[in-house]
């Protein structure tokens, strides 16, 4: 476990020793900030229109209007940005041969996979941390539901975890970082949008399957503040599966 943690620490700090981490974080905070200000303006606008209409004003909620929409958009930004962060995790080690250091150290392949994954998660945590000022703003000037805030952060973390686990696996599949990026992005986007098709499908086992595979559905339900075990299990299953697949892939690197 110490091995995995020190690999994770090295990975996260390596991201911030190169422009990659800073550019990705800048992009995230910039676009995230744009969405947040947009939502605040929109909320304020709707709020002003609802003055004098108590029923409408009652339905207007900062939780739904701002927090839920914000995290839904942040998830989408993460889907674009995280593949660029995860693409180098193992591919770069293979290209610059530093993978030999890991393979000849007394840590198993799983610790290598886990360490790389946690290294990516470290970056995701910094990303999540960069949204804390938005929440501070909402608490200072409004009355958000803390349950919904927590559920959204948990959902966002799990979503990032899924993309990062997928990205770690793709990064282990190739020495070419661009290929790893494309694979992660395509895979993540497919998971995200697969739910769209279900509305045109007949009720069947396939529909249930596709619906339950769609990241969007699970993320949405968490966004509403509902921490259902099925959603948590969905994300954890994906993370666990890709971690296992990555460790198998790292083990296979010893047999080339």
């Amino acid at each position: 476990m110490i091995g995995a943690l020190s690999i994770a620490r090295r990975e996260t700090s390596a991201l911030f020793n190169t422009p990659v981490g800073w550019v990705a974080l800048t992009a995230f905070t910039f676009i995230g900030g744009f969405f947040f200000s947009y939502l605040i303006y929109a909320y304020f606008n709707v709020y002003q229109q609802s003055v004098g209409n108590p029923q409408e004003a009652d339905q207007l909620s900062v939780n739904e209007f701002v927090i839920q929409n914000l995290f839904s958009n942040l998830g989408l930004i993460a889907l674009f940005i995280l593949p660029a962060v995860t693409m180098r995790l193992i591919a770069e080690d293979r290209r610059q041969k530093s993978i030999e250091l890991l393979l000849t150290s007394p840590i198993g392949s799983f610790q290598i996979a886990l360490g790389k994954f946690l290294g990516g998660m470290g970056f995701a945590m910094v990303m999540a941390g960069s949204t804390v000022p938005y929440m501070w703003f909402l608490y200072a000037f409004g009355d958000p539901d803390s349950g919904i805030v927590v559920a959204n952060y948990v959902g966002f973390t799990l979503l990032c975890g899924t993309i990062i686990a997928l990205g770690t696996f793709c990064s282990a599949m190739t020495e070419n970082q661009i290929v790893a990026f494309m694979m992660t992005f395509a895979g993540g986007l497919l998971l995200w949008i697969s739910g769209w098709f279900t509305q045109y499908m007949d009720d069947s086992a396939l529909k249930t399957f596709v619906t339950s595979c769609s990241m969007l559905n699970h993320a949405d339900s968490m966004g509403k503040g509902l921490l259902h075990s099925q959603d948590v299990i969905y994300f954890l299953t994906f993370i666990g599966f890709f971690l296992f697949a990555t460790s198998q892939r790292v083990e296979a690197l010893r047999w080339r």
Binding site: I2, R10, A14, N17, S98, E100, L101, S105, P106
Partner: protein, 298 residues
């Protein structure tokens, strides 16, 4: 300390190693010699546990690498030909990282020891990418040393270095093997290094072991050849032929090559002095090496 038996490795259709067996005893410094592509790196990677063998076993201190890689890796330091470096880390951070993942308990002390051993204290705060090739090679060695391993496997530690750096690394390896009773296996294609550092040589050619013996035996050669360089070679061939025990004398264009039925070096030297003896060399490791690796072993 290292026992390799029947090691075979194929990459697809290419057979990289075929039935390689040898042993390295505790405290020995063994040179692993062979042309590029002979299978040196493949063998060393298998011993270090970063590559699996198609058949055969490699044991270090009695432990099978394939069965319990972590146990072997705790007592084995491996420096691949391309140092496995993270270029944007500082030397100190990198060695600390290596110490941590190798399970060292006192990381500060181990880092300090490794940096001191390879003479990197003065550049500990520098970024690895900005170092010269010689320093980078040393960082690669520091990584292999940081957990104070009983066995060191070094793959071409001097490749691509200039002569001065070469000597530094050579001295460093010598200091590592002496005193600590460390077992060292190093590969190179620079014969002079093997002659200077190693007490035993294993020669590999096209994936097969073609010779393994003490340096003295190997370079002594069975045919007792002596190469002479003379200031006044006129008439020397005749004189050499008269020396007791000499079976043939040839002139290879530069030197006289005297072959005897036994060790004739002393008598030949005495006979050569009147002809202005400039240099004299016994059968060199190079001759043996060239003989072994050019006779077209399939």
């Amino acid at each position: 300390m290292i026992e390799v038996s029947g090691l075979t490795k194929s990459y697809g259709d290419t057979l990289a190693l075929s039935d390689v067996s040898f042993t390295v005893k505790k405290g020995e410094v063994v040179g692993f010699l062979g042309q590029n592509g002979a299978g040196k790196s493949t063998t060393m990677r298998i011993i270090a546990g970063s590559l699996g063998a198609s058949a055969g076993t490699a044991k270090v201190d009695g432990v099978d690498v394939a069965e319990n890689p972590a146990k072997v890796q705790r007592i084995l330091g491996y420096a691949p030909e391309t140092p496995p470096l993270y270029g944007n880390m500082t030397v100190g951070d990198y060695v600390r990282f290596a110490a941590t993942i190798k399970g060292v308990t006192d990381i500060d002390a181990a880092t300090k020891m490794a940096l001191g051993r390879v003479g990197l204290e003065s550049v500990a705060h520098r970024i690895i990418d900005n170092l010269s090739k010689g320093y980078r090679q040393r960082v690669g060695l520091a990584q292999a040393l940081v957990h104070d391993p009983k066995v060191l496997v070094l793959d071409e530690p001097t490749s691509g270095l200039d002569p001065a750096q070469r000597i530094e690394i050579k001295n460093l390896i010598q200091s590592l093997s002496e005193g600590d009773d460390r077992t060292v296996m190093l590969s190179t294609h620079v014969l002079a290094e093997i002659e200077a550092i190693c007490n035993r040589v294993i020669i590999i050619h096209k994936g097969k072991i073609v010779a393994q013996s003490d340096l003295a035996t190997l370079s002594g050669g069975a045919d007792k050849k002596v190469h002479l360089e003379l200031r006044r070679p006129e008439g020397a061939m005749e004189a050499m032929r008269r020396v007791a025990g000499v079976t043939s004398v040839e002139h290879d264009g530069v030197k006289l090559v005297v072959t005897g039925e036994r060790d004739v070096r002393e008598a030949v030297a005495a006979a050569a002095i009147p002809f202005g003896l400039l240099s004299m060399q016994g059968q060199s490791l190079e001759d043996t090496y060239i003989q072994l690796t050019t006779r077209g072993t399939a």
